[in-house]
């Protein structure tokens, strides 16, 4: 009797923990929506989205999200272009080539990379990477989208490597054996058989990597220069959505339009990451052939 009661108690507790995450997401969404409606009811949604001036504390204030959205897109694009080839190559090496001892060392190392706090990466970026970029590209200043991209590539790499590695390992062994038995070389097998079979997993990894990068704040705040211009190259400073919220929340007058505009930015960011994650999920759960 007591055991049965205990059993039910545990079941309930686990159930509650399970749905807590979902409830939290819904609550956060509702809160964001409520606060950003206070903003979007006073400005035109589309002109805000495509206005190119971000001067929130001027008279009259200008709330243009376009430079911020483009800033986030530029930094994210750069980071993914750097992180995906390295990440996929690392995953192939770990799952297909490396002997088991090296495999363990590499996996631990990559997990450690994920454990470095972003503020530390930002600090390294400002004292080491930015001067290097300034020197190499002969720029007036190294605080650019590229500096942010490189640092964020480091942060996205662990996510990408571990998910791609999972995808590669879950390709049925018979595929590989069949290919080798037909006389294909190891590399041909990887390229023609294993990679295509693991493709949905790789796409999901890239999507989750993008989600990780676009939401990152501290490192970009420190090293991208935060100038709200419309960027046309990675060698220019940019101001991302996340850095704008972080930089302006501390000093904003509560209840002002500027305050609500930051929730508006948060809402836009939430919608973007939601769709990226949704796409990643669709690819992860797509039926394998």
């Amino acid at each position: 009797m007591r055991r049965k009661l205990f059993e039910r108690f545990v079941e309930r507790a686990i159930f509650l923990s399970g749905i807590a995450a979902v409830i939290l997401v819904v609550l956060i969404f509702v809160f964001l929506l409520k606060e950003s409606i206070a903003f979007f009811s006073q400005v035109n949604f589309f002109t805000t989205l495509f206005n190119k001036d971000w001067y929130p504390i001027s008279e009259p204030p200008k709330f243009g999200f376009l430079p911020l959205i483009l800033g986030s897109v530029f930094v994210t694009f750069g980071a993914i272009v750097i992180a995906v080839p390295f990440g996929v190559a690392a995953a192939i090496y770990i799952s297909e080539v490396a002997p088991s001892r090296i495999k363990d060392i590499l996996k631990t190392g990559i997990e450690l990379l994920a454990a470095i706090p972003s503020i530390v990466l930002g600090f390294i970026g400002i004292v080491a990477l930015a001067p290097l970029i300034k020197y190499v590209f002969r720029l007036p200043s190294g605080l650019t989208a590229l500096a942010g991209s490189i640092m964020l590539a480091f942060m996205a790499m662990p996510t990408i490597v571990s998910i791609v590695e999972d995808a590669l390992t879950s390709v049925p062994k018979s595929y590989k054996e069949g290919s080798l038995a037909l006389g294909a070389t190891h590399w041909q097998t990887i390229r023609r058989v294993i990679l295509p079979a693991a493709f949905p997993g790789i796409v999901a990894a890239v999507m989750l990597g993008i989600g990780r990068v676009i939401g990152e704040t501290m490192a970009v705040l420190m090293i991208t220069g935060n100038a709200a211009i419309l960027p046309h190259s990675l060698l220019q400073p940019v101001r991302t959505l996340t850095a704008t919220i972080a930089a302006e929340m501390g000093e904003v007058i509560q209840g002002s339009l500027h305050y609500y505009s930051l929730f508006g930015i948060g809402f836009v960011l939430f919608v973007i990451t939601f769709f990226i994650n949704l796409m990643a999920d669709m690819f992860l759960h797509r039926k394998r052939f």
């Binding site: 205990f6 007036p140 200043s141 705040l221 100038a227 930089a247 000093e251 904003v252 509560q254 209840g255």
Partner: protein
Amino acid sequence: MFKKIGLLLLVFIAVVSLVGCGGGKKAVQIKGSDTMVNLGQSWSEEFMKKHPDIPVAVTGGGSGTGIAALINKTTDIAECSRNMEKKEIEIARSKGVDPYETIVGNDGIVVVVAPENPVNKLTIQQLSDIFTGKITNWQAVGGPDKEIVALSRDRNSGTHVFFLEHVVKLGKKGNNNEFAKGVLMMPSNQAIVEEVSGNSAAIGYIGLGYLNDRLKAVAVGKTVAGPYITPSIKTVGNKTYSVSRPLYMYTNGVPSGEVKTFIDFVLSDEGQKVVLDMDFVPIR
């Protein structure tokens, strides 16, 4: 199994109630400006040496954060490196909080360049032109043929607001000047120090306390004819250096009780000596 859980619960309750009993005395809460957080910390340390029975807790977060906390009655004193805005005072009044202002010190805003930069002096007008993007090359102000990298604090900073109003907008109400879009927004005084000291084309502004020998302070003049004044504790104190601002503490109504004891200490000779030690400028 149940016994174990019960025991754990008991221990937990015991610990929580012990911790709860420890903090019997209510601390004086101070919250606000990041510029002033170290200053507040030093004041509280000196103060608690004299008044060990009155604990003082200091946190930063920005001037706006401090004011929000004062309005929500979660802090006793809001440290602020700018005036309270009209809108903030309105909100405070509507919530039954009556902000009372005390000036507790002064801060000089120093325009800095790298030591190897040959430019030693600039007028307020030139500074405004640099930060609004009208001047983009050092040649226009007597320097080498190099693109200017202008660095500003971000909008979370009271210093940003002050510099915008008194330098970029030339101190004129209704002036429409803005920071150029290309001005880099840095998250802290320290980030500006790092970038300027390593970049001979950079110009930025910081609090007087952050000045060190890896940087050069630019002398500032109101007109081209001068006089150009180099910022120092002396020139800020006697108001000859114009780019300076008061530092405030806001309380709910005229301070009383322990809060009054603390603010009286801040305004005393001893308290003002702390201001000087922290590289800010005393009120007298």
